[in-house]
């Protein structure tokens, strides 16, 4: 994607702006983490007191009181732990929601050319996997990180308080922890990238195999394909084992370091106890604090990987957010008047992806006139009409509507007054009524029915169980191509546009129904400018002006009769369609 702008200097600004909004959660979470961990860490200290009691033969009553305090501490700590999750994880879900909303809102602004270039799966991945990785970084990530730091600080303070010397002995192995975690983490990251790349290669290969399955079967390549895939799968296995060799070492290594920690403390602490400078209870409590450090130390490695993954994902999300929409209301986009429907192409040239698609289009359509566009697939008909709605950028001075340069129109005003019905209509999985009122959200049922009647759709809808409320798409009924096209026509009519574009909108409709639509729609077309694209001569022959497009150029134009007399391409098209009709009856 070449129009992906450079990412902002601080990649975290995307989330920090939300964190600022939720700072009260962050503060509350910080307090809760400190309190819950501090309270939890008091427990070994209470244990020490109990042991001291036992050594000097304290009473059962005293011990009972301390044990009660211990349980009380645990309950209090538990409450704060609950509040920790309730604040920070809660907040992470809020940020996830906000960020998802921001991405989607941004997607709505991006121009069609962006979607022509990007794969849906890729955009989806950013909105799902990447977003989740970012959430993990700010939710559990922050929680475990803070928790780890607090535990370290508090446990360490207690240890220093209990015995500065013992603390010193155990510090030695401790500094290895972050070093090992970081080093191994980097190695893991590199291997993970390699695995991810190979996974993409496998996906691409399977995709190709399935798309080309006819060729595979035709040339009996099934066995060879399986062998080839075995190679890929085998390599994936090897890469994963590469990772496993490292990964398998990670946790045991940290655990080994932790054990060494205890070992040093045990040996030197034991010597201290023997010399009488440290009481036994202190040593026991010291161990308790030491073992409390082990898991946070190991968790640190996990937090680091959360951070790394989250950062990479955030970068991918930032790329989407940094993509500038190609078409925006410019400073001059202020024209908001009612459209009369005069269209003028002034020597328009249009280029897409480096190839010239339209050449020297000169055309004036007066308000209320109808124009028919014919020509082979790929001759530029659809592109020509897409420009009217400014779906693609048009240079200044080449296209005017009501005498106003298209770039000076306010985009919503412009688009609202042009109605489109396309050959492969896209329907949303909503009710038929909602699909028809797509352009005018508050259109009454009455108006919806009327539009459906004009598009000759009423009879079909009557046969559906829920009538207009029948849901279409994957979770509802499947409409035939013709029904979809007629729904799209109704949808376009309902917006009451000044310019109506029917882009091969009846290609899947049978001739009889098409005649019906043509009859009904003629009333609707009165007073509107209309552009009708079709492969069928019958659909365009009654228009005021017919254009024949070839390779992005208008090669013939005139009325039906004029073009027939001309005896050119339009004439040939007409003749072969008459023959085809004749053939049908044979």
């Amino acid at each position: 994607m070449n129009n992906e702008a450079t990412t902002p200097t601080n990649i975290f600004s995307t989330v920090t702006k939300y964190l600022r909004v939720y700072r009260h959660y962050l503060i509350a979470c910080g307090i809760c983490i400190v309190l819950s961990n501090a309270l939890m860490l008091l427990i070994p200290y209470v244990t020490k007191i109990v042991f001291d009691l036992l050594e000097r033969q304290g009473t059962d009553k005293e011990r009972f009181n301390w044990v009660l305090i211990l349980v009380g501490l645990a309950v209090l700590s538990g409450i704060f732990r609950f509040l920790t999750r309730r604040t920070v994880i809660w907040m992470s879900r809020c940020v996830e929601y906000d960020l998802r909303g921001e991405i989607f809102a941004h997607l709505l602004r991006l121009s069609p050319s962006y979607y022509d270039k990007s794969r849906t799966g890729d955009i989806m991945a950013r909105m799902t996997n990447d977003l989740e990785a970012v959430r993990m970084m700010i939710g559990p990530g922050i929680m475990h990180f803070t928790s780890t730091v607090v535990t370290f600080v508090v446990a360490m303070s207690f240890m220093i308080y209990l015995s500065p010397r013992l603390t010193l002995y155990s510090l030695g192995p401790m500094i290895l922890f972050p070093l090992v975690a970081n080093r191994v983490g980097n190695m893991v990251h590199r291997r993970a990238m390699r695995i991810q790349d190979h996974f993409s290669a496998i996906t691409a290969s399977v995709q190709e195999n399935i798309t080309g399955i006819r060729v595979v079967k035709a040339y009996r390549q099934e066995e060879n394909e399986v062998e080839h895939f075995r190679g890929l799968s085998r390599k994936y296995f090897d890469l994963n084992m590469d990772m496993a060799r490292l990964y398998a070492a990670m946790v045991p290594l940290l655990f080994m370091l932790a054990s060494l920690l205890i070992l040093t403390a045990l040996y030197f602490g034991g010597l201290e106890v023997m010399s009488g400078s440290v009481p036994l209870g202190t040593l026991v409590a010291f161990f308790a604090y030491l073992s409390m450090l082990i898991w946070p130390a190991i968790a640190l490695g996990w937090v680091v990987s959360l951070y790394q993954r989250g950062k990479a994902s955030l970068e991918r999300i930032n790329k989407v957010l940094a993509t500038e929409p190609e078409i925006v209301n410019g400073a001059s986009g202020t024209y908001k008047e009612k459209m009369k429907g005069r269209i003028e192409f002034r020597d328009l040239n249009f280029q897409y992806n480096g190839t010239r698609v339209l050449h020297h289009i000169n055309l004036v359509i007066e308000p209320g006139r109808s124009v028919g566009l014919v020509g082979r697939t790929g001759s530029g008909k659809t592109t020509l009409v897409s420009l009217l709605a400014r779906l693609y950028p048009v240079e200044r001075g080449q296209l005017f509507i009501d005498g106003v340069d298209i770039n000076d129109w306010d985009i919503p005003t412009l688009r609202r007054q042009i109605g489109f019905a396309t050959q492969e209509p896209f329907l949303f999985s909503e009710s038929i009524a909602d699909n028809i009122r797509f352009g005018v959200g508050d259109a009454s049922d009455e108006i919806v029915r009327e539009a459906a009647a004009t598009a000759a759709l009423s009879k079909d809808v009557e046969n559906f169980t829920d009538g207009f409320e029948t849901v279409v798409g994957e979770r509802g009924i499947t409409l035939s191509g013709g029904q979809k096209q007629r729904t799209a026509i109704a949808r376009a009519i309902l917006t009451d546009p000044a310019v109506l574009v029917l882009d091969d909108a009846t290609s899947a409709v049978d001739t009889e129904t098409e005649d019906e639509i043509n009859r009904r729609i003629s009333d609707v077309l009165k007073g509107r400018t209309s552009i009708i694209i079709s492969h069928r001569v019958s659909s365009v022959k009654n228009t005021d002006l017919i254009l024949y497009l070839e390779d992005g150029r208008i090669v013939e134009q005139g009325s039906h009769e004029e073009l027939i007399v001309l005896g050119g391409r339009y004439h040939d098209l007409h003749r072969s369609q008459l023959l085809a009709a004749q053939l049908e009856s044979l």
Binding site: M40, Y219, Q221, M274, F428, Q582
Partner: protein, 599 residues
């Protein structure tokens, strides 16, 4: 195919645990049971070493520190060191074997799914979008990783571990052990409650995520429309509602986790309190030593860890069930029949005898089609769009099976042929040329390594493709861009001709491309076609006049029926479908009488 596939697949949630699926999943582990056993044993050894420090501490405190035995403490420290090293080795080996096991099983499943996919009928591919099938082979299989690698082994290991700890506790002091476990019912209750709640929330979350994803996916697809109809604001509002729904259920889920984890900690503190109080009494009575109490505390702490990990394992299980259900649905799809016989001396006589065919039910695409193709004959099939030409080809190649009548090759009916043998005699050139990633050579020989570079070169030369190779220094090993983006339509066609030549079939079935090419390329293609059809039985869905004129026999299909058979010169002089078609496509009335054209 299960009915569920029709719906958005992510909304289909398997049960949290399905014994039938689990049993089937476990069969994949069977070949590696020795590895499983080794991993479990190693895990136990590792765990024993891991908890051994509790014993070492106990012995150190009771026997050496309390007694002031300095050399003894040193000896113990060295033993401890040894135990640490062994523990590391055991854990490392266990984790490595576990990973190996998981990857091995994944490789097996992946291969099985992919191989099965190659055997499925074409109608299966028509019904299922490419993306869905790719997911089956890739992501769905990967989801099972955790279950096979960590899942199975850790569950067994954890169970052993718990048993071991319980045994150790009872060994030290059975009364104290019983007291400690007084809180166990609390723990079990909390766990069950948590699981029930989380299961419900998990389902709800999955459904809402699926809804959100479906919405986003749909609107990315229909973005142009949203913008054309200036629906951005309303779409955004709708999305916000779905997004909020998801946030709400996530927030609900937080409560369960937020309550469960602290609850486990409180319960474990409770058992510590019990230990200290009653254990203290025992020490006072001198029936328990300090060291033993310390060891007890460590062991109890270790006891709670697997229980805390439970929620994670539960999620793994649930995800595995959903994925495996989808994978098994694919594996359970009956593949097309491939076995059968052959004929000793292949001649290539093809006969259609009253063949009827429909893709669904009774919507006949071919009706009562009969004709024969003699060995060496060149047959052209013509007809308007939708006449059934392509279906006829697909039947011959057994991409689909006909419902009535018979198609025979050298007298043997198609279903009795082995697919391998049949397809080794027939060659197929499709209208849409599929270009694979790789080089020119790879696109000619595909993955058949028995076809030499020389054969490839010769094939390319015979179709006249060599002229395009001159510009490329790497010759036949020039890499083609994805989907042949840099190749022209004509070049792609020539490439597919070369492919057919390299495989040198006895009978060639060819669907001529309709797309127009420039005159120069057209001449090239015609020459290449002549080369391709030379000395071969061939059936061509013909669009080129030159091909039709050279055919020994023309079969005219109309609305799925054979309406005319004959040679061009005969057919074109008679009024009828062929002549109309001919005039339609080649734009010149055959006879000078224009009356027929003017209706």
């Amino acid at each position: 195919m299960s009915a569920g596939e029709k719906y958005h697949e992510e909304e289909v949630l398997g049960k949290a645990y399905d014994a039938r699926l689990m049993k089937r999943l476990l069969t994949y582990i069977r070949p590696y049971r020795r590895a499983v056993a080794a991993a479990v044993v190693l895990m136990l050894i590792g765990s024993v070493f891991q908890i051994s420090f509790a014993f070492f501490t106990q012995i150190a405190i009771d026997d050496y520190i309390a007694a002031g035995d300095q050399p003894g403490l040193m000896r113990l420290a060295l033993m401890f060191l040894l135990a640490v090293a062994l523990g590391f080795a055991a854990s490392y080996a266990q984790l490595y074997i576990t990973a190996w096991l998981g990857q091995k099983v994944l490789h097996d499943i992946r291969m099985q799914v992919f191989s099965h996919l190659q055997k499925l009928r074409l109608s299966y591919f028509d019904r299922n979008p490419v993306g869905r099938l790719v997911t089956r082979v890739t992501s769905d299989v990967n989801v099972l990783n955790e279950m096979f690698s960590s899942g199975v082994v850790t569950v067994i290991g954890d169970l052993f571990m718990l048993a071991l700890i319980v045994a150790a506790l009872f060994y030290y002091n059975w009364r104290l052990a019983l007291i400690t476990f007084l809180v166990l019912p609390l723990l079990v209750g909390a766990t069950f409650l948590f699981r029930a709640k989380v299961r419900k929330v998990y389902r709800e979350v999955r459904t809402r995520i699926a809804r959100l994803n479906a919405f986003v996916q749909e609107h990315i697809g229909g973005m142009k429309l949203v913008q054309l109809f200036v629906r951005e604001k309303r779409t955004c509002e709708k999305f916000d509602k779905i997004n909020q729904d998801l946030k709400a259920v996530h927030h609900r889920g937080i409560y369960y986790y937020a309550v469960f984890f602290p609850a486990v900690e409180i319960i474990s503190a409770l058992s510590l309190a019990l230990l200290l109080y009653y254990g203290g009494a025992k020490i006072n009575e001198a029936t328990l030593t300090f060291g033993e109490l310390v060891a007890f505390i460590h062991l109890v702490e270790r006891f709670y860890r697997p229980i805390r990990d439970l929620s994670e394992k539960y999620n793994i299980l649930q995800a595995s069930m959903a994925s495996s259900e989808r994978i098994f649905a694919l594996l359970d799809t009956e593949p097309g029949k491939t076995e059968g016989g052959s004929v000793d001396d292949f001649k290539g006589r093809i006969s259609f005898e009253n063949v009827w065919f429909a893709y669904n039910d009774e919507e006949w695409v071919l009706r009562d089609v009969s004709f024969t193709v003699e060995p060496g004959e060149k047959v052209a099939i013509v007809g308007a769009t939708g006449a059934g030409k392509t279906s006829l080809m697909s039947l011959l190649y057994r991409f689909y099976d006909y419902q009535k009548g018979a198609i025979k090759i050298d007298g043997l009916e198609l279903p009795k042929w082995s697919q391998q043998a049949l397809r080794s005699h027939l060659g197929l050139v499709l209208q849409d040329v599929f270009v694979f990633t790789g080089d020119f050579a790879g696109n000619v020989r595909l993955r058949d390594e028995t076809i030499s570079d020389e054969t490839v070169r010769q094939a390319l030369r015979r179709v006249g493709f060599d002229r395009f190779l001159k510009d490329h220094p790497d010759g036949i090993h020039t890499v083609v861009q994805e989907r042949g983006a840099t190749l022209s339509t004509g070049q792609k066609q020539l490439l597919s001709f070369a492919r057919a030549l390299a495989f040198d079939p006895d009978v060639l079935i060819l669907d001529e491309a309709t797309s127009s090419v420039d005159t120069e390329t057209e001449l090239l293609i015609q020459k290449a076609l002549d080369e391709l059809l030379k000395d071969r039985t061939s059936i061509v869905i013909a669009h080129r006049l030159s091909t039709i004129e050279k055919a020994d026999k023309i079969i005219v299909l109309h609305h799925g029926e054979v309406r005319q058979i004959g040679k061009h010169t005969d057919l074109v002089t008679k009024p009828g479908i062929y002549r109309t078609l001919y005039e339609m496509q080649y734009q010149k009335p055959f006879s000078q009488d224009k009356a027929t054209v003017r209706r």
